[in-house]
């Protein structure tokens, strides 16, 4: 498809070309639709168009992918509908409404960034210590001393720990559901996992804090043997450690990453799979040769989405983590994430200067999640070029 200018948006754009291809290429449509009901029934008003006739026009159709120009329609409507080329009132209204809504979204994001900046910059300028490197946090009005370093460290470490635990497991489950389990098991399980992705995080939080945490103490003690690396050194927090928080976060993002991985694995082209079988591949070799390479981009972006969730998670982490007076890099020690710090201090928002300190922390979180999402987008877009 001559869609040279790949749009920036990963989630939706991947399907751009598909719509025209579907209509334009009866072949793709038939197989994609499983051979049943291949052509969506056109409403009575619409004149039946010979699908075959469109094959030839597949190219121009695709070129008109929505990212750069609306599919056909932009040109078609005024030209045909109104011979004089006059734009109808209804068209103008709808265009204005939709553009206005899009403008609202743009303004909203700009406002979020703007207000976080405006409210935090005075406090950051007034900060007696370095905002980015200090480990202090005491935003007392008049003597503001706050640094984001330990919060940022905890946020990142706990999220990465969650990723390390969740992503391989999620890939395993996704493979199990798509290529190992019998369909009678796979379907309900897949469905259940999708539903689990919708469970609110506060429920993971209360469960993690009240039910799971005591059971994790043993596991944590076993891990103490890992050695003297700073990451494992301090062992002063049995429940409520970063490890404890990371495990709960992992359980929380597991359904999300699984759902996305499953989705891409499921779409592995049958030809690739059959080609692998035909070459005499074992099941694992088939998975390694056909399924995994095909799904890599999707899994990466799913993992990044999970990471974004983990970084911004508030209430579950807030209910679980212990705070420590002296910052320690150990994952068996306690700490606070940016989000849990803000949540824990909500009752302190009674002075613009100290509130500004928390808003500054929120700004850092905003930038962090943005960077992660942007990275996911870049990876996926690049992958798309040669998948």
């Amino acid at each position: 498809m001559a869609d040279g200018d790949l749009p920036t948006d990963l989630a939706s754009r991947s399907t751009n070309g598909v719509t025209p291809a579907r209509g334009g290429n009866p072949f793709a449509s038939r197989i994609g639709g499983g051979g049943v009901g291949l052509q969506p029934a056109p409403p009575a008003a619409a004149a039946p168009v010979q699908p075959a006739a469109l094959v030839g026009s597949a190219e121009p159709l695709a070129a008109a992918a929505p990212s750069d120009a609306p599919p056909v329609t932009g040109a078609g409507s005024p030209a045909l509908g109104t011979p004089k080329g006059k734009v109808r009132l209804g068209d103008r209204v709808l265009l204005a409404l939709t553009t206005g809504a899009a403008g609202f979204v743009v303004v909203l994001v700009v406002l979020v960034a703007f207000f976080l900046l405006v409210k935090s910059v005075p406090s950051i300028l007034d900060d007696k210590v370095n905002f980015l490197t200090s480990t202090e946090w005491s935003p007392t009005p008049g003597n503001l001393r706050f640094g984001i370093a330990p919060l940022l460290y905890t946020t990142v470490v706990i999220s990465i720990l969650a990723m390390i635990l969740a992503v391989p497991t999620a890939i395993g489950i996704a493979l199990f559901i798509t290529h190992y389990a019998p369909k009678s098991i796979a379907r309900p399980v897949a469905y259940a996992i999708d539903l689990l992705a919708a469970i609110p995080s506060i429920i993971y939080g209360i469960w993690g804090a009240r039910v799971l945490a005591p059971h994790l103490v043993g596991a944590q003690h076993a891990l103490y043997h890992l050695g003297g690396v700073p990451l494992f050194k301090d062992r002063n927090v049995p429940t409520g450690s970063l490890f404890n928080g990371g495990v709960v976060l992992a359980i929380m993002i597991l359904p999300i990453v699984t759902a996305i991985s499953r989705d891409v694995f499921e779409r592995t082209p049958r030809e690739n799979i059959e080609a692998a079988w035909a070459l005499g591949a074992t099941k694992w070799e088939m998975v390694r040769l056909a399924v995994l390479p095909y799904g890599r981009a999707g899994v990466i972006s799913g993992a990044m989405l999970g990471l974004g969730r983990a970084l911004g998670e508030t209430i579950a982490v807030f209910l679980i983590l212990s705070k420590v007076s002296h910052f320690s890099p150990s994952m068996f020690s306690g700490g606070e994430t940016i989000a849990s710090k803000i949540a824990n201090s909500a009752s302190e928002f009674n002075d613009p200067a100290s509130t500004g300190a928390y808003i500054a922390a929120g700004l850092v979180l905003f930038v962090l999640t943005f960077v992660v999402n942007a990275a996911a987008r870049t990876i996926v877009n690049r992958r798309k070029d040669f998948t």
Partner: protein, 322 residues
């Protein structure tokens, strides 16, 4: 991909798998199955905990008809009606604002978008998708409370939820509209139907169930959000159906959070409580907070899952996806 496949096209194609390959295959199968089973444990455990501890609570008749007005952790009874009403109101206001905007943005992106502004919009929707709920809450706080000196109130929560809900619905709408075959549009134009009418009468009805699905999923996404509640509204035990008053309002996540702070119950030999005169007496005191917390949790899960199930059910009737 072609390259990978070519590489493996060695002369061994029809040979029986060697021992090493068989072993690897077996190992992989074991690992994949193990991953599945291991992951199942916490997820089933979580659901089981909530259901087993909360089910008898939500079975109580007063749970759905009364608030926690007049209740303390030592008095039985009362219900979650105040919290259910609060959550429903907050989410409803949020939906009333989000749904039209998000669907219009979706229409814009699919039917109209072109040029740099389209790219900017897509980019902004992406950013919006990634905004953590606590940041959304902080923004609303900075805007309405710090700047305009509004007092904390239920509708502010709805405002924060709008930020979280819009991108979810925009995405679904976009996907659903793209699934509407172009032949439909072309046929419509060919008959001289103007573009707006084509969108209103052909495109939207075709994708309608898909849009409904998106909305329901958006609602399910925000109904359990807790972070905005911590910052933007107080939790009231009693009924407060006025979303706009500067008063506290109950909500299910707020109720869970509130009861969580009263959970402790000692059992066993060390347990004791105070008699009305402050003397220590052996035996643990009765505490209804855990019941209420798990009950509220189960209620929240039930609402969110029900919405998801409805979404899937509606989606089954989707014309374009079948």
């Amino acid at each position: 991909m072609t390259a990978t496949l070519t590489r493996s096209a060695r002369p061994t194609v029809f040979a029986r798998p060697s021992g090493a390959r068989k072993f690897k295959n077996g190992l992989a199968t074991t690992l994949v199955t193990a991953a599945f089973l291991v992951a199942l444990v916490p997820l089933v455990w979580l659901l089981w905990t909530v259901i087993s501890k909360g089910f008898h609570v939500i079975m109580s008749s007063s749970w759905w008809t009364e608030s926690q007005h007049n209740q303390t952790q030592k008095t039985p009874g009362g219900g979650a009606l105040h919290a259910i009403v609060g959550t429903l109101e907050q989410v409803a206001l949020c939906s009333v604002i989000s749904v039209p905007i998000a669907i219009l943005v979706g229409i814009y992106l699919v039917e109209y978008a072109r040029g740099p502004f389209a790219r900017v919009t897509t980019f902004m929707v992406d950013i919006l998708t990634g905004i953590p709920s606590i940041v959304a809450a902080l923004f609303i706080y900075a805007l309405f409370v710090s700047t305009f000196h509004h007092l904390r109130s239920g509708w502010l929560v709805s405002m924060a939820l709008v930020i979280l809900m819009v991108p979810v619905i925009v995405r679904t709408t976009e996907e659903m509209l793209k699934l509407v075959p172009n032949e439909l549009r072309e046929a419509s134009y060919a008959l001289g139907v103007p573009k707006w009418k084509t969108i209103a009468k052909i495109v939207l009805p075709t994708a309608f169930t898909g849009l409904v699905t998106g909305v329901i999923l958006g609602v399910a996404r925000v109904a359990g959000e807790t972070a905005p509640l911590l910052i933007l509204v107080g939790y009231a035990q009693g009924m407060n159906a006025n979303l706009f008053g500067t008063k506290f309002q109950g909500s299910l996540p707020g109720m869970i959070n509130d009861e969580f702070t009263n959970l402790n119950t000692a059992t066993g030999g060390s347990a004791y409580h105070l008699d009305p005169n402050g003397k220590r007496v052996a035996g643990g005191a009765i505490n209804y907070a855990p019941d209420r917390m798990w009950g509220a949790a189960l209620t929240l899960i039930a609402i969110v899952l029900l919405l998801n199930v409805i979404a899937r059910f509606v989606a089954r009737f989707n014309k374009v996806s079948q």
